[in-house]
Symmetry: none
Subunit: 401 residues, 2 copies
């Protein structure tokens, strides 16, 4: 479990500043055994200088061998046990497109599908309908009338969209309506528990409305609904850590995750330089800053080793402006590894760097995966990182007399 029972008891105020810089998918792999990773290949004089002053370690996002998505990856770094706090798929999808969920909402992933004359599914993804077509259909679904509640529909990509049902007495425990096979009709929405009965009924009405609105379509004349989920109940940073926290992110998913733990989204930066400018501008208003850098992940996902190296060097070049603000604690890490070699997220521990006046320097001289193995933080589960941040910032009282 997470350590919030401890931090709630031990948190103490201060004027220290913590910066958590998350380079998404930072960890990597060499392209051939014995080679260097992306981070080890990159020229990173500034990060290396910080590694020399600071302490290194390897962050295990969830548990050894477990590859996280963005949700669990960030929850871990934020100190919320990713095995305890689960963000439902609908809620994560809504978060990812920047939809701000409220307490009366149930979020659902919708898929357009193709139904044959008998009402059976002939294509579960509506012939891989292109985004530009599906977007218009999703917007058309906003005309669906479900008496007693509000319905929001947002396009995502290709056959996917998001539905949010807003109203009183809606719970999120409803079975998926996607039967996972073709040749059968979509399932009816069925509640797991009596408290979700009303949600199932409202979803059935939405589906009927969707059938009506899509009746003339060739490819996308039906919908299936998956991942029904309420807004996850995450206690806020203020509540569990006593921190006024700000998030400086470019992409909606990361703003959304930060918002779920009560961080305030500041600025509207589109580049790393703008993010640093926003950090400087809001320096006096917050105790904690989460900065998110996306491109170490996206280049890794593309399998573009050289591009990932360049993005890491871009990040390195931004460090002097961040350290010039003299944060009490500066952490550079990732939410998971995204090795170009695998073209996907992975389970490998993430090299992590923490700098403070009292961090106990460990003799490491370079920021990289191999060097981090000799670091003073050892290998640790990501969920403990916030404890180390708070301790180094002087924001945790002694446990027991």
């Amino acid at each position: 479990m997470d350590m919030h029972h401890l931090t709630r008891e031990l948190k103490q105020p201060g004027d220290s500043k913590i910066v958590l810089l998350v380079a998404d998918g930072l960890g990597g792999l060499p392209m051939e055994p014995g080679g260097l990773t992306e981070l080890e290949t990159a020229r990173t004089p500034n990060l290396d200088a910080l590694a020399t002053r600071g302490v290194l370690g390897s962050s295990i996002p969830v548990k050894p061998g477990i590859t996280p998505g963005s949700g669990p990856g960030h929850l871990g770094l934020f100190g919320y046990d990713p095995l305890e706090y689960v963000i439902g798929r609908g809620a994560l999808e809504a978060t990812g497109i920047g939809f701000e969920l409220g307490p009366r909402d149930v979020a659902i992933r919708g898929n357009f599908c193709t139904l044959d004359g008998a009402g059976n599914i002939s294509d579960r993804r509506a012939g891989r309908i292109p985004s530009e077509e599906s977007k218009l259909l999703a917007i058309r679904l906003r005309e669906a009338k479900v008496p007693g509640i509000e319905v929001f529909v947002e396009p995502v990509k290709e056959h996917r969209f998001v539905v949010v049902l807003r109203g009183d007495g809606l719970k999120g425990d409803v079975h998926d309506t996607d039967p996972q096979i073709t040749g059968v009709p979509p399932l009816d929405p069925v509640a797991h528990d009596p408290a979700s009965q009303r949600t199932a009924e409202m979803a059935a009405k939405f589906i009927a409305e969707a059938r009506r609105l899509l009746a003339g379509e060739k490819k996308a004349n039906g919908v299936t609904l998956r991942g029904f989920s309420a807004k996850p109940a995450l206690p806020s940073y203020e509540e569990v850590y006593g921190l006024r926290a700000a998030a400086i992110a470019v992409y909606p998913m990361y703003k959304g995750l930060a918002r779920l733990v009560g961080m305030k989204i500041v600025g509207s930066a589109q580049t790393l330089a703008e993010q640093v400018a926003v950090l400087r501008e809001h320096w006096n208003d917050f105790d904690f800053f989460f900065m998110h850098f996306k491109y170490t992940d996206s280049t890794g996902e593309d399998g573009n080793f050289d591009a990932k190296v360049k993005r890491i060097e871009e990040l390195d070049a931004a460090m002097p402006e961040i350290t010039a603000l003299k944060p009490t604690v500066l952490i550079v890490t990732g939410d998971h590894s995204t090795p170009s070699y695998l073209k996907s997220h992975s389970w490998h521990p993430v090299p992590t760097l923490l700098v403070s006046d009292c961090c106990r320097t460990d003799g490491c001289r370079k920021f990289g995966e191999a060097e981090a193995l000799h670091g003073g933080l050892g290998q640790f589960e990501a969920k403990y990182l916030m404890l180390l941040a708070l301790a180094n910032a002087g924001r945790l009282a002694k446990y027991g007399a």
Copy 2:
């Protein structure tokens, strides 16, 4: 949780001897980044020779980033999960002054306070009353008569004292009576649960008696009570490990903590040399010896780097006499770090040394924080140390067939 479900099942007898030498607050920090810690600065030829023969590691007292007090710090080393076993403040205070709590006791921290004519608190610490004055008042409170139970009062320091209520049907869950502010009267003792109702009533009678006995005092004419707590229910070393355990400590707090887990307090040593003599004298009577060395902590708390270095060298000089006894397993560690740089306990992992014939030597040559990062024990939570001690002593059977 702790591992006692395993040790109860797997413990096996033997004639091996384990010595756990706890240098309180052993871990440290350099005074400037990149420098050496106290332990790394000290000349420790004997400990270095043991490091060469033995195996090193870094002990995390509770969890990463958590700074423990003496209670949780020692419980962890003793193998009792410090998050599972919590010693109430009253019980710890009583333990700290050497009061041996029994099963019918509730221990309470008392504070002398100053009440104005209206009965409101004007000073929560009775004008920081000096110990020589408050001691006499605490002794006077022994005259308090509370029919049906026994009352013990022990002086502590300045405005603090300890009250122990002894009787049948007393539980420890009673709210503090200290309102934490001045200008209001002390709170009445209120039970958290019905089982503690009688304790609350008896405490109210004690408070009334105290008011009567202190009526003529100028500064200390009232009391507040805090940290009501029963004796913590800790299974004994005999029970969970099958060990006859002895404690050789100078200060009451550490004797008290050892007593709580069923160790026998042996000798009345006042110096390290005397502690070693007591160890030698009782060598044949016990399987396990806990030796406590205080001064690495107190010098660290004073921020006196050089004095801490000297104390470590003093400890080093005592090692040959200990190893001459040929313990099967010798462990040198601390209950937490106390860096002179911070002048306080800290969360930093504690360098730990274990020597046995089968410990798997790891190539480390010196006992110190940085060297321990390369040690064979890695980083581990303190609560696992007793498992390693038992294993190296041949006192744990195989788990499963």
